[in-house]
């Protein structure tokens, strides 16, 4: 994996050099505007969002505190790990098939994995992590290794339990189903980007009586998880996980920023709605 990291860094260096060479060639060209006017509304909204996030970080660092409401799915993480420990069973954690490491949902899932791995290392509970992407596998191994180290039990890290299965959707689903049926984990975490395999995994977990905590960014699969799982993280609850579980102020402040932006969007929608009702021909809100 260290070799892989070196290859990645070297490749990125090549990109930088290639980009610089291309850029120096392109400096001669004069066509194209520096700012595309069609993207102006997106730029304005992006800058406003960035300012709100930075303001929230400053707000928290200046000593003000705020609360995040209780998220049942995240509160149940302790319960899930405890159940597996008491039953002498294992925990299965999988990030789903639909995403790769660049997706924010996968990164959010890694945050929760870090907390779960810390607890499993403390209680010496087996954590099985099958995945469809070799990069996610490499990152997950580092995350779990670090958590074991933080727990003071580096020896409890088992790289074999974090493995790549298949990039094929139903090959992955069949393999994870097989693992669930054979290993019978007491707790199952389905956190990440899922597609059609979500209900297959959730129902199999339900059939063996596991406690299941799920969360995804797909509204369709959320519906399946709500029916089949004990706890479901809906929408941005999954992204708030890292701040909720770690208590890190910088991360919590960005969660607060999300709420502020959401309020602004709601005000915009209500204003546009009222305006459209009064003047149906107006289109100022259309981008």
């Amino acid at each position: 994996m260290r070799l892989y990291r070196r290859i990645t860094v070297l490749s990125i260096c090549f990109i930088s050099i290639a980009g610089t060479v291309s850029a120096s060639d392109a400096v001669q060209a004069t066509s194209g505007a520096w700012l595309n006017p069609d993207t102006l509304p997106t730029l304005i909204f992006s800058l406003i969002s960035l300012l709100i996030v930075l303001f929230s970080i400053w707000w928290v660092k200046s000593g003000r505190k705020f609360k995040i409401r209780e998220i049942p799915g995240l509160k149940a993480v302790d319960e899930a790990v405890g159940r597996a420990t008491e039953m002498g069973s294992s925990i299965l954690y999988t990030p789903g098939w639909g995403g790769d490491i660049q997706r924010p949902t996968t990164i959010a899932s890694m945050n929760i994995l870090s907390s779960v791995a810390l607890k499993t290392a403390e209680y010496d509970t087996r954590l099985i992590y099958p995945t469809h992407d070799p990069v996610i596998m490499a990152v997950a191994q580092e995350v779990v290794r670090e958590s074991c180290y933080k727990a003071g039990h580096s020896d409890r890290f088992k790289a074999d339990d974090i493995f790549y299965i298949s990039s094929s959707q139903f090959g992955y689903a069949a393999a994870v189903d097989g693992i669930i049926s054979r290993e019978k984990p007491a707790s199952i975490f389905l956190l990440g980007t899922f597609e059609a395999e979500s209900l297959i995994l959730a129902e199999t977990g339900n059939s063996i009586g596991s406690i299941q905590i799920a969360g995804t960014d797909s509204t369709i699969q959320l519906a399946f998880f709500i029916v089949a799982c004990d706890y479901t993280l809906i929408g941005e609850e999954l992204f708030a996980a890292s701040g909720y579980l770690s208590g890190n102020e910088s991360i919590l402040s960005s969660v607060k920023a999300q709420d502020i932006i959401k309020i602004l969007i709601s005000l915009f929608i209500v204003t546009a709605m009222i305006w459209a009702a009064i003047d149906p021909s107006s289109t100022w809100w259309v981008f």
């Binding site: 639909g98 990039s167 094929s168 139903f170 059609a196 059939s207 797909s218 369709i220």
Partner: protein, 270 residues
Amino acid sequence: MDRLKTRWLIFSGLAVVVVAAYLINIKFKTEPSPATMKAYEFIETLPESSVVMFSFDHEASSLPEIQPLALALLRHAFKNDLKIIGLSLFAEGTAIGYDLMTETAAEYDKQYGVDYVFLGFKPQYISAILGMGESIRRVFPEDYLGNPTDNAPIMSGVDSYDDITMVVSIADGDRTVYWVEYAGARYGQEVMAGLTAAMITSYDPYLSSEQLYAVVGGLRGAAEYENLLDQRGGGARGMLAQSAAHLYIIALVVTGNIIYFRNRRRRGGK
């Protein structure tokens, strides 16, 4: 053990219902939905030789549902003498897409390279979609058969989304979202989708905000499209089995609630 027995009863019942319905082979006439109609009218009114891009963004697993849909759309495009550029953003969709295109093209005596071309598969779908907005040849310097893309007569004058009238994403997952968000939002490319039934509702927001031009979904969508083309295909054939499955699930839900209320009354009585 009871839980397992119930599960097996449910599964067996569904299997019997679907197999029996499929064997009966009654075809329903289905009225087209507004979205299917919109897709049909778009292709129907396109001038001859307009270039349409078909992206086979699905896996082999959804082939039974996707194939009737893809065939209906391809047949319509070939029938109207449109030029078709095919590609795949899924490794498994590549061979399937190529097979579907060549088989359908043969039905209408279309020539590879002149009337249609299949560019093949490109990994990292986001960079592929974004890259084609600048240059299709740069992303696909060769087609699926290894011929230089430049040499295909169909590619003459076609090099980015500016030269493509519509992208039709045949998908069983969220690849169409990337077409909408990258090709559509960034390059203004019109995108239409042929989807599995499970994915239709997740694209409704894009449809209603007109970020997605039209959606033809599932076996029902395929049956509706076949109806409009006045052709028989897999969509119409599968509608009875699908309808039977729906009715079975309705019966299950009602039965489940009857059992629930009966048990609740008994517990209340005790």
